[in-house]
């Protein structure tokens, strides 16, 4: 029972550092997998914002192109309808004309056209466009706080400003680009003191982020599943390796114990051989002498020789047991095909006896 516990302790002591090592590897592995997941999620989120920015830039670019087209023609005449009334801020000659058949037409300049397109865009896609300036002709084109800040940055040299904004409890990407005064623009805006190349204002768009966030959520879910599998495969590898190592150590310890037991058995056999060999010699003499004494007594013969042999052999036995009690070394001698303990060499009894004799 004690030996069993001792072996268990031995195994436990050898396995403990391996357990700590496996635990450390598992922690490092979990940290690596989590860091990669966090990094990937962060990249995806940045990507979502970048995609929204690209969409915003495309819309602004398209607005500018239509404005250029309008401006190229010096404005466009359209029939006056309920939603398209003459622009009261457009002070030019022939703003309103009439066709020969009597249809009333009014001129649509780039700003009016942009505003109308923005209204349609807002109704249809939820995209909020706004043409703005720090010095607008139309007061409704005054910037909000965010736009004012951006416009001021444009005057310091910045070309674009963007951020995520919450408008009416919905998340938007708001992006604004500069509007540069071109020669054609000065037809209406020269009176405000603009020169060609001046920053005249900005065109902002607010893109709803929900569709982008939905795609992002799906991609992040895929990432969670992929990285969970990635972590699981690694963790399984670490656990399998750990158990394989434990099994190997247990087998090694068991084999060591077997070898030790075999060595012990070998020692026991060598000692048994030595005791049998050393004691059976005088036993043989004692038995033979006793048997002869028995015969001689029956014939009334002298037994003095056999008795003296008996005494000598009994003394030899005494010496053998003294030697056995004083064994201090492991010494063997060849015996037939094997080996037995060399009791005389292994014991220090004779040495003591000799030393005592010398001292006397």
């Amino acid at each position: 029972m004690f030996l069993f516990k001792s072996n268990e302790n031995n195994i436990f002591k050898k396995i403990l550092p391996i357990k700590y090592l496996a635990l450390s590897i598992m922690i490092v592995w979990t940290f690596i997998a989590s860091s990669l997941l966090v990094w990937n999620i962060s990249t995806k989120k940045k990507g979502t914002l970048e995609n929204a920015k690209i969409e915003a830039r495309t819309l602004i670019r398209k607005d500018i192109l239509y404005r250029e087209w309008n401006s190229m023609h010096g404005g466009v005449y359209v029939p006056v309808i309920k939603d398209t009334v003459p622009n009261k801020y457009l002070n030019i000659l022939e703003r309103d004309v009439e066709t020969t058949s009597g249809t009333k037409l009014t001129m649509i300049n780039p700003s009016y056209m942009t505003r109308q397109v923005h209204e349609i865009e807002n109704k249809r896609d939820g995209v909020k466009g706004h043409l703005t300036s720090l010095n607008p002709i139309r007061p409704e084109n005054l910037p909000d706080a965010w736009e004012e800040k951006a416009l001021k940055l444009f005057h310091k040299g910045k070309k674009e400003e963007s951020s995520m904004e919450v408008i009416h409890n919905k998340v938007y990407l708001k992006l604004m680009a500069t509007l540069i005064a071109e020669k054609r623009c000065l037809k209406c805006h020269a009176a405000q003191g603009y020169k060609e190349g001046d920053i005249r204002g900005g065109l902002s768009v607010s893109i709803p982020l929900l569709p982008h966030k939905n795609i992002e959520r799906q991609q992040i879910q895929t990432l969670y599943i992929t990285y969970s599998l990635f972590w699981f495969v690694g963790a399984t590898g670490i656990t399998t390796g750990f158990f394989f190592l434990i099994k190997k150590i247990k087998n090694q310890i068991t084999n060591e114990i077997k070898i030790k037991d075999q060595e012990r058995l070998q020692g026991v056999l060598e000692m048994a051989g030595a005791v049998c060999h050393e004691l059976n010699q005088p036993f043989q003499a004692v038995l033979s002498a006793s048997e002869i004494i028995q015969i001689k007594i029956e014939h009334e013969e002298s037994i003095s020789e056999e008795v003296s042999i008996l005494i000598d052999e009994l003394k030899k036995m005494g010496t053998i047991t003294e030697n056995l009690m004083n064994i201090t070394k492991y010494k063997t001698k060849k015996y037939l095909n094997g080996s037995i303990i060399d009791i005389d060499e292994a014991s220090n009894y004779n040495t003591h006896k000799k030393l005592k004799g010398k001292n006397k």
């Binding site: 010699q281 043989q284 003499a285 038995l287 033979s288 002498a289 002869i292 000598d312 037939l336």
Partner: protein, 128 residues
């Protein structure tokens, strides 16, 4: 059979003395040797057919001596007497040519009985 010669080989002088005394009283002609080499010398001088050999002898072992005897006297009946021998070593005894083996201490009347049987066997072989 006129001369019943027995050779006892043992490195223990007291055992040799007692065995010799006993077998002499029983009417056998007893020769003794304390080593294998001494025993081989005796073989050249005397005609011996029954042997008692201790397995552990100073130089030449009892097993080697048995092989030597069997080589020169195939009819010899040889008994091993040993202080200690494992099962493997006893099997080696049979291979070497020992007819039987005894663990020490062995009773003298037992040895006397096998000796008588050995000489009876030899006598029977001679008649055939």
């Amino acid at each position: 059979m006129k001369e019943k010669n027995i050779l006892i080989v043992d490195d223990e002088p007291s055992v040799l003395r007692l065995f010799k005394l006993f077998f002499l009283r029983a009417g056998y002609n007893v020769l003794t040797a304390e080593s294998g080499e001494e025993a081989i010398e005796l073989l050249e001088e005397e005609k011996i057919l029954v042997f008692f050999l201790d397995l552990r002898l100073p130089k030449m072992s009892g097993l080697e001596l048995c092989r030597e005897i069997k080589k020169s006297i195939p009819m010899a009946i040889i008994y091993a007497i040993t202080g200690y021998a494992s099962l493997f070593e006893l099997s080696d005894c049979r291979v070497a040519g020992f007819d039987d083996y005894f663990n020490k201490p062995v009773s003298l009347p037992v040895l006397l009985k096998v000796t008588e049987e050995a000489f009876n066997k030899i006598e029977r072989w001679r008649k055939t």
